[in-house]
């Protein structure tokens, strides 16, 4: 599912230079001041900045960015009306731009009033002497400077939000560094990274935003480093637990509802005119998708068909036949609305264990195959036998279904390189968490988050057959499905309309339905 990018991680390029400073002993300070102390690395890029001013310039850049982002005014006038200094003299350029923002009296909000002097802080900072400002090292590197050091210098500039952002940005950088260490196999450095991150985490707000996501990723990384890549404990969550989490995920955010309703609409349209229909569901769970379909079939012009439903699900322990219970409930619903209904449950712990004869498909009936986020689990390549995805796709094809509905996450989490996977997952799941926050507050949210957290843990900390969350983007699925003999069917405008209405009902900001060459993405 393609998600709206709410860009929590955006705009961090200016932050990197501010985290690069580290303290140097005073003797070096004198030496550098006597030289022509233009910073060498930036000079290579065409910018002339004094090494002594690097920190100041970086802070100004950050503040400029905040001001630009928060500015209510139209920024285009900045491009046409103002006079800019030569940007290669970076310090004065940034100052001139900042002065553009300080002049209008209507935007004082982005500058924190210095509590003691009660003046806008910008003018103060330039003139105050900062005798203990640390000198900048010639080689700009990602030194993990502790936040306290920066605070003593910045006590005039108590820009709280920038500090929060800074920690968030720093966390992200540290996560990337740690992941890189893991990929290289340098576990000792990775462990020290982890400790630093956990320390940093205490200073960041972990209730929402980047702190929360980072917390989950740190957990997943530590699991990978300390428990190895088996990661069996995550997947060992019982089927019952999974069902509960899935249910809360269904409630808390619109993704699953969107998936169900859209798939139902497609199946309904495909079954138009047929009297004997059979639906195969690859993951029955609580069967929440099917009441709506049963109701729609009951009300279709021409009367309801005979509906058979085959639900596949994991075998339940302690003798309780959850599949059969769900089937009974669905049957009762169907009976109330006068739809002839038959249910069959197939218990299988993995999808590749299911054989087509288990489904008992009648040649005269029209078949629909419905897979909600199940096919990606089959993508683990096992060199001993045929790739499971191809096996499954071929037997689905042999059933000759009228329609096959596939719902998958729109993400690229199946790359062979760990770092690439990690980066993608970080981006994807932080957007996912943001979208969850945009939904109205419900008690389900915490459990929905645990559901997502399990996915994260699987993507990051498992390998081989234990890693089942192997998401792939739409284009790859398209190729794979057409390779297996399926022709893409465009979802009609009815489906789009229904999806938009459903989204409006959720009254959450930032969601939108998009059509992507016949597929709907949320």
């Amino acid at each position: 599912m393609v998600l709206y990018d709410s860009a929590t991680l955006g705009g961090s390029c200016s932050g990197s230079s501010s985290s690069s400073s580290s303290s140097k002993p005073p003797p070096l300070q004198q030496r550098q001041q006597t030289q022509q102390d233009i910073d060498g690395l930036l000079a290579g890029a065409g910018y002339r900045v004094r090494s002594s001013e690097l920190r100041k310039v970086a802070q100004r850049l950050e503040r400029l960015e905040t001001a630009m982002v928060n500015s209510p005014a139209d920024l285009s006038q900045l491009a046409s009306d103002t006079i800019h200094y030569n940007p290669s003299d970076l310090a004065s350029w940034v100052d001139s731009l900042l002065s553009e923002f300080t002049q209008p009296p209507t935007c004082p909000s982005e500058f924190i009033m210095d509590p003691e002097t009660n003046q806008t802080v910008v003018s103060d900072a330039w003139t105050t002497a900062e005798p203990h400002m640390p000198q900048v090292h010639q080689n700009i590197s990602y030194e993990q400077q502790s936040l306290n050091n920066q605070l003593t210098v910045d006590n005039q500039l108590t820009v709280v939000t920038a500090m929060e952002e800074d920690s968030g940005i720093r966390l992200v950088h540290m996560l990337m560094t740690c992941a890189e260490c893991v990929q290289r196999g340098d576990f000792s450095l990775a462990t020290s990274c982890l400790e630093d991150m956990q320390g940093l985490l205490t200073r960041v707000n972990t209730v929402c935003g980047i702190g929360k996501v980072a917390g989950h990723f740190i957990d997943a990384l530590s699991r990978r480093i300390f428990q190895g890549i088996g990661g069996g404990s995550i997947n060992g969550g019982s089927a019952y637990e999974n069902e509960i989490l899935y249910h809360h995920f269904y409630e808390a955010c619109p993704y699953l509802k969107f998936a169900h309703f859209t798939a139902n609409q497609a199946i309904l349209e495909a079954f138009d005119g047929h009297d004997c229909v059979h639906v195969v569901d690859f993951n029955l769970m609580h069967g929440l998708q099917w009441p709506a379909l049963i109701q729609a079939l009951a009300l279709r012009p021409g009367g309801p068909p005979l509906l058979r439903l085959t639900g596949i699900g994991p075998p339940s322990p302690d003798g309780r036949d959850s599949l059969r219970e769900i089937g009974l409930r669905l049957a009762e619903l169907a009976r109330s609305v006068n739809v002839r209904f038959a249910f069959r449950g197939v218990a299988a712990s993995r999808l590749e264990d299911v054989k087509p004869w288990m489904l008992q498909v009648n040649p005269k009936e029209s078949v629909a195959v419905n897979s909600i986020m199940q096919l990606h689990r089959l993508l683990g390549s096992d060199l001993n036998r045929n790739s499971p995805i191809e096996t499954v796709l071929s037997w689905i094809r042999s059933l000759n279904p009228k329609i096959m509905t596939v719902v998958e996450q729109e993400a690229n989490h199946n790359q062979p390189g760990f770092l690439d996977r990690f980066t993608e997952a970080l981006h994807y799941y932080s957007t996912m968490f943001d979208s969850l926050e945009a939904c109205t507050v419900q008690p389900n949210k915490a459990l929905a988050e645990i559901y997502i957290q399990r996915e994260i843990a699987n993507v990051v900390s498992c390998e081989g057959s234990a890693r089942v969350e192997r998401h792939e983007p739409l284009s790859k699925w398209r190729t794979r499905l057409s390779g297996a003999g399926f022709r893409p069917l465009h979802l009609g405008s009815n489906a789009y309309k229904q999806a938009s209405m459903l989204l409006t009902l959720f009254s959450a900001e930032g969601y939108s339905v998009e059509e992507n060459d016949g597929c709907l993405t949320l």
Binding site: G287, L299, S322, L328, L333, T440
Partner: protein
């Protein structure tokens, strides 16, 4: 004598008045129903608190049916049996149609009225299904959760 005259006068005046029959709405239930049929949801609920007769009438599902499908033309015919099986029109209205309409009202387009009802019906069905689960089995399946698939409709949006 005079008094009786007066009384007679009064009585004749009164009789004139009484010749016009006093109109109690409660005596004419069919008219009452026609009026109540045209009310909106909130007024109908208020009307149900007027007196026992009104309460009984307002509880009648056909009034709520009218309320649900008022904006939909032509009114769907076969829906009745389904809706009654799933819990009745009043429940459909209060649980699904009203919140759906109020939330979609901002972006209402003329063609959506029928689709709104369809969507409400689907959501209503899911809700019925969940209620089934709670009451039916030993309840271990759905556990402690009451039917909650419509919760996203109930919670007021409080930004």
């Amino acid at each position: 004598m005079v008094q009786t005259h007066h009384c007679e006068d009064h009585e004749t005046v009164g009789e004139d008045k009484e010749k016009r029959p006093k109109f109690f709405i409660n005596d004419h239930v069919d008219i009452l129903i026609e009026i109540l049929k045209r009310l909106d949801g909130r007024s109908l609920c208020v009307a149900a608190s007027v007196c026992r007769l009104w309460c009984t009438i307002a509880r009648n599902d056909s009034l709520w049916e009218n309320l649900c499908f008022r904006h939909v033309s032509p009114p769907p015919s076969s829906v009745r049996s389904v809706v009654l099986a799933l819990g009745g029109y009043k429940r459909l209205y209060t649980g699904c149609v009203r919140p759906v309409r109020s939330r979609l009202g901002r972006v209402r387009r003329a063609s959506w009225a029928g689709d709104e009802v369809q969507l409400s019906l689907s959501l209503f069905c899911v809700d019925y299904y969940e209620r089934l689960g709670g009451s039916n089995s030993n309840g271990r399946l759905v556990g402690e959760s009451s039917p909650s698939s419509l919760m996203f409709l109930c919670k007021p949006v409080n930004v």
